[in-house]
């Protein structure tokens, strides 16, 4: 082999060197995940100290630790109440909502092979808005009482994604069919929401608009618990499909030749991503942008291997949402801005900076 000879002369790379290089390449990704995790713990403490009552980070951490180790750490009732009943569930809800939205976004971008995909590509946000509007304006819905708005938003979100699945299934489940079906669904629900707003009273319309902006203001331990449970379980399930999602990136035919059941993986991941998103935005309202931008930022750092991209995106999403909510609570205090507004204000400049600075194609 003439080619073999010429190349083997110049490229004398040792097998052990190659393995070492790859090990450190993987090590850097693990390091990024650990660093993000540490960042969340620190930011959570900081977020819990900020607010109208002045307490210090040490007091916050003691209050938290006192609950787990009652004898070892001491705290006061006042601080305990502020931390545990007012701030901590909001902080945790921010962490898990940010994580869930980002993981769902990373999974959607992976299975649809589209950098602009996010959980909202499938019309999920507009379906949730419609469900909420229906509850707020007409008082109609599938469940009653305090869960009316939440239940409606969740159910319509799942209806939207199942409809997208049904439409796409009819033509074969490819990224194109799913995106086109998603866009159709999105416009349909937007129009129906607009109609409801047109016929609704002024206060009701205002409530709908506030709901759609997205906020962690309605947090409680119950809601934070539900979001955390769904986000963690679905994230683990999506991570189980990491290799399959990686293979889809090389094209459907290649993925099939590598043993991937392409349509099944795509549908299951879509359902998992929809489930995460639905369970978050039904409590918070639509918080956009995180599902789009957190995976992008993460991909620039850890690359496209979903074994690392999914968890790392989740952590980056948690950081962004927590930071955005903390700023939203404090920047114009005592006015609390909706976090949905803040995520964009915070994320867009950072995203543009990375986008302009990047040298290589990352898609």
């Amino acid at each position: 082999m003439s080619e073999a000879e010429t190349i083997s002369k110049e490229g004398a790379i040792d097998a052990s060197d190659l393995k070492e290089d790859y090990a450190s390449f993987v090590g850097r990704k693990v390091l990024f995940i650990i660093a993000s995790l540490a960042g969340i713990v620190i930011l959570a403490g900081v977020a819990a100290t900020l607010g109208s009552a002045n307490i210090t980070p040490v007091e916050v951490y003691s209050a938290i630790l006192a609950w787990f180790f009652p004898g070892t750490f001491a705290t006061t009732d006042f601080i305990d109440t502020i931390v545990w009943q007012l701030r901590l569930h909001r902080v945790l809800m921010g962490i898990f909502a940010g994580m869930g939205l980002a993981v769902a976004g990373a999974a959607m971008q992976g299975i649809l092979k589209n950098p602009l995909a996010s959980p909202f590509t499938l019309g999920i946000a507009s379906a949730a808005s419609f469900g909420a509007s229906l509850a707020i304006i007409l008082g109609a819905g599938f469940v009653s009482g305090q869960w009316l708005i939440v239940g409606n938003a969740f159910i319509f979100t799942m209806i939207a994604s199942l409809t997208v699945y049904g439409l796409a299934k009819y033509k074969g489940i490819t990224p194109e069919t799913m995106i086109l079906a998603g866009i159709a669904i999105m416009y349909l629900f937007s129009a129906m929401t607009s109609f409801l707003q047109y016929v609704g009273e002024a206060e009701e319309v205002q409530e709908v608009v506030f709901w759609m902006m997205g906020s962690l203001g309605r947090s409680s331990w119950d809601k934070a618990g539900i979001i955390a449970l769904v986000a963690v379980v679905c994230t683990l399930a999506l991570m189980y499909f990491s290799w399959d999602i990686n293979a889809l990136g090389a094209g459907d035919e290649t993925a099939k030749s590598l043993g991937v059941n392409v349509e099944l993986v795509r549908v299951l991941c879509m359902i998992l991503a929809s489930l995460i998103t639905a369970s978050i935005i039904c409590f918070t309202g639509t918080i956009g942008f995180i599902g789009l931008v957190a995976p992008h930022i993460t991909r620039m750092v850890v690359g496209g291997d979903h074994r690392f991209l999914l968890p790392a995106s989740g952590l980056v999403g948690a950081l962004i949402l927590l930071a955005a909510d903390t700023l939203a609570r404090t920047i114009l205090a005592p006015v609390i801005l909706p976090v949905g507004i803040m995520t964009s204000f915070l994320g867009v400049p950072f995203f543009i900076y990375l986008f302009l600075k990047r040298r290589k194609e990352y898609w």
Partner: protein, 261 residues
Amino acid sequence: MVKITIKDLSFSYGSRKILEDLNLVVGDSEVLSLVGPNGSGKTTMIKCIDRILKPKGSILLNGGRDLQSLSRQEVAKYIGYVPQSTTSVLTTTVFDTILMGRKPHMGWRVQEEDIDKVVDIMKLLHVEEFALKDFSELSGGQKQRVLIARALAQEPEVLLLDEPTSNLDVKHQLEALDTVRSIVKRTEISAVMAIHDLNLAARYSDSLVMLKGGKVHAIGDPSTLLTRENIRAIFGVEAVVMRDLDRPYVVPIRSLNAEAV
């Protein structure tokens, strides 16, 4: 020895028949090329053997097992597929691309053994210099080598190649086929490729299958198959076949229905 036996393979899109009752035997350490005009079913045939499409008929392994009855994961252990041209959208390094070939054999965690195999294959195909480069940054020839490496990482019995030379310059065409042939001759692997260039097919294949309209027109070794008559029948092209080299060399002269122009 026989590697795979294809029996009565048919495939249709709706009512349109693309492949009709193909019968074919691929031997051990054999390079078999599928030639024929556009739309004759070469690429479809490749995709049917790998069950990327769902054909009728049977594809028997030498143990007698039918690929049609195996799961996708199992098929991936026997058949490695090298796609025509890939527009990989997601960022991935060369190392990770080849590691993907281990997918049919490994679970979620990558074992030391998988890494070792990837390293060996990278050295075999001389792609180790750009191990941690992004796949999308490579040249056409390098990409082709990486894709062959990924298919080899599957440790397949049969390598399927869909027009392996289509995006390459002359030098890289020769190199890609040299690589395929040397691997086939050094190991027990067989290769089946769809290829347009008759002269490259003649030079690198042990046998040719001439396809026309989804049916086998002729099967045999390149020197007996590449005749003026066959080329006229298959492609509708008047050609001169030169035989003073060790392999026949086809020089196309004119299209038979070009008189109108």
